[in-house]
């Protein structure tokens, strides 16, 4: 059923249709609307589940771990600092092979504290052993959650569905909400690989020493590789069941004959596609490759999709200080052995708008540096750098620069 609704609401409805048995919630912007909606459904009885208001994100993931190990379908959502606070448990859930599904409403990480969108949070957990799926639209966010439970439970690996905070979670868009029957048909009952059962007891979470730890890790790596196929199969099965393309590994757009291909994740893809159309109209041979599955990284699919591109521009919503682009390094690995020119563009940090205007300008430029910060106010940073050179105690940079701008925090999204 088509519906004009907020992204969070749409995701909440999709999650509800997956019939999670245990939901744990701890508030953090911009994820809150999702669990608020789920809480209401549990209260009204529309959703039969245990809803726990826990005391921290660390507890939220821990409750999910216990619930999943006991054989229940478990769900939680978080963002930003919350994801970092639960990090230890995030790794643990993957290590124990518990198919938990978690929404990450992508948001920047402080300091300085910043509630707006970028990908620093989920990127920080990219090696936690979770699958990471990035949604381009609210429709895809909704669809990915349904696929996530199926993939997670088939593989016994937890899945993180990443959707851009505010840009998607708070945006009202048209979405096609499936009917519960379809979801039930697509998503089988949870049949755990291991479960805490007094009638068939096991010890889960043993200490493993050097004699077997490498093997344990190898098996995790192997399962991740296998998961690529499972993800594609899930997407195919989804298309069959719902008549809609969603999920999968990567999404090429006008890449066939493209000389320049932009690689990006999440909601920015829409803006990039508009940009591509505009530049194509101007005769520039450009395309865009959306990466839906970031973990495991679909190297083969990426290499294939980037086919004959002369120049690959990786548009990143996060930064690895002291290194540069996080996605870029994976792309580079995927293209190893090719002469493709690869450049990184850091854009949209902490909620900075990524506009078609800026993108057009950027992608028309022939001499693109290896690393570019989109719409960087160079004057502002130069002044601050100068201050720092002259006075040791030059004060906190964020405040200094805001003073320069003559505004207080906020401003246009």
């Amino acid at each position: 059923m088509l519906k004009q609704t907020e992204g969070s609401r749409a995701v909440a409805e999709a999650v509800a249709m997956c019939r999670p048995q245990v939901i744990c919630a701890y508030p953090i912007t911009p994820q809150t609307h999702i669990v608020e909606a789920l809480s209401a459904m549990v209260k009204t009885g529309d959703l039969e589940a245990e809803f726990l208001n826990v005391e921290s994100e660390f507890a939220a993931m821990s409750v999910a771990i216990g619930a999943s190990a006991a054989g229940a379908r478990a769900y939680t959502a978080t963002a930003s600092q919350g994801l970092l606070f639960m990090s230890e448990a995030v790794y643990n859930a993957a290590g124990l092979g518990l198919p938990i599904v978690m929404t990450v409403a992508n948001r920047a990480i402080g300091a300085p504290i910043n509630i707006w969108n970028d990908h620093s949070d989920s990127m920080s957990q990219r090696d936690a052993g979770w699958l990471q799926l990035f949604a381009e639209t609210n429709q895809e966010a909704l669809d990915l959650h349904i696929q996530a439970f199926r993939i997670a439970e088939e593989l016994s690996i937890p899945v993180m569905v990443c959707m851009d905070g505010f840009l998607l979670t708070h945006a009202s868009e048209r979405v096609d909400i499936p009917d519960p029957g379809q979801v039930d048909a697509f998503l089988p009952r949870y049949d755990p690989r291991q479960v805490l059962d007094p009638d068939d007891p096991v010890s889960i979470g043993a200490m493993v020493g050097p004699e077997a730890f490498t093997e344990v890790r190898y098996l995790a790596y192997e399962r991740m590789r296998q998961s690529l196929g499972v993800i594609e199969a899930a997407a195919a099965g989804f298309a069959e069941q719902f008549g809609r393309d969603s999920g999968g590994l990567v999404r090429p757009y006008r890449t066939e004959d493209a000389e320049i291909i932009v690689v990006a994740l999440g909601s920015v893809l829409g803006t990039v596609k508009d940009t591509v159309d505009e530049l194509r109209a101007g005769g520039r041979k450009i395309g865009v490759l959306g990466i839906t599955t970031f973990r495991p990284f679909p190297a083969d699919a990426v290499r294939e999709a980037l086919g004959g591109a002369r120049h690959v521009v990786v548009l990143e919503r996060a930064l690895a200080p002291g290194s540069g682009g996080i996605v870029t390094s994976d792309v580079r690995t995927a293209l190893v052995g090719r002469s493709t020119h690869i450049s990184t563009v850091i854009a949209g940090l902490g909620g900075r708008a990524v506009t078609r205007k800026s993108l057009c300008a950027l992608l028309q430029a022939e001499d693109l540096q290896p690393l570019t910060f989109l719409d960087l106010d160079t004057g502002l940073v130069d002044r601050e750098l100068a201050r720092m050179r002259t006075a040791r105690r030059s004060g906190p940079s964020p405040e200094n620069m805001l003073r320069d701008l003559g505004i207080t925090a906020s401003g246009i999204g």
Partner: protein, 193 residues
Amino acid sequence: MFQVRFHGRGGQGVVTAAELLASAAFSEGRHAQAFPSFGSERMGAPVMSFCRIDDKPIRTHEPVTEPDALIIQDATLLHQADLFAGLGREGYMLINSARGFGELGLGDFVTDFHRDRLLVVPASSLALTHLGRPLPGAALLGGFAALTWAVSLDAVLAAISEKFAGPVAEGNARAARAAFAFVRDEREALTDA
């Protein structure tokens, strides 16, 4: 694609208004997108929201920087910096006020635009009359329908009845109708002139 920017103060329903407009467009089978200016603002602070309407899927997620229309929910914001930023010569603007542009100090400003695309409507007092509370959102949308025809009044009413229920829905609907009539008459007056 038709892009609208709403200006108001926290608590005045600026976001709701944008969402109502989006679902109005949706009810006419069109694609729409509404989203707030994500801030940490609280009650009373100046805030914005956006709405896009198109016949094909809307892919971009950047904020509206070159609006086709502005809806000003609170006239006290008028002299704020860049309130009108990006509004083109062909643009529309609807201000919630009982006073004329002259009194609002916009006498000169409006002369650069199509005169019949810039109007004021006493949305708050209409809301007060019909809804009992000075929430101008629905009324402004009624007026907006009459001003731009970007969406029909019926679509606005449909959105209102989907969003609200009972007396609130009715009150908002009456306010919207009243505002629609008010703006329609104003435009006719201007075009006749």
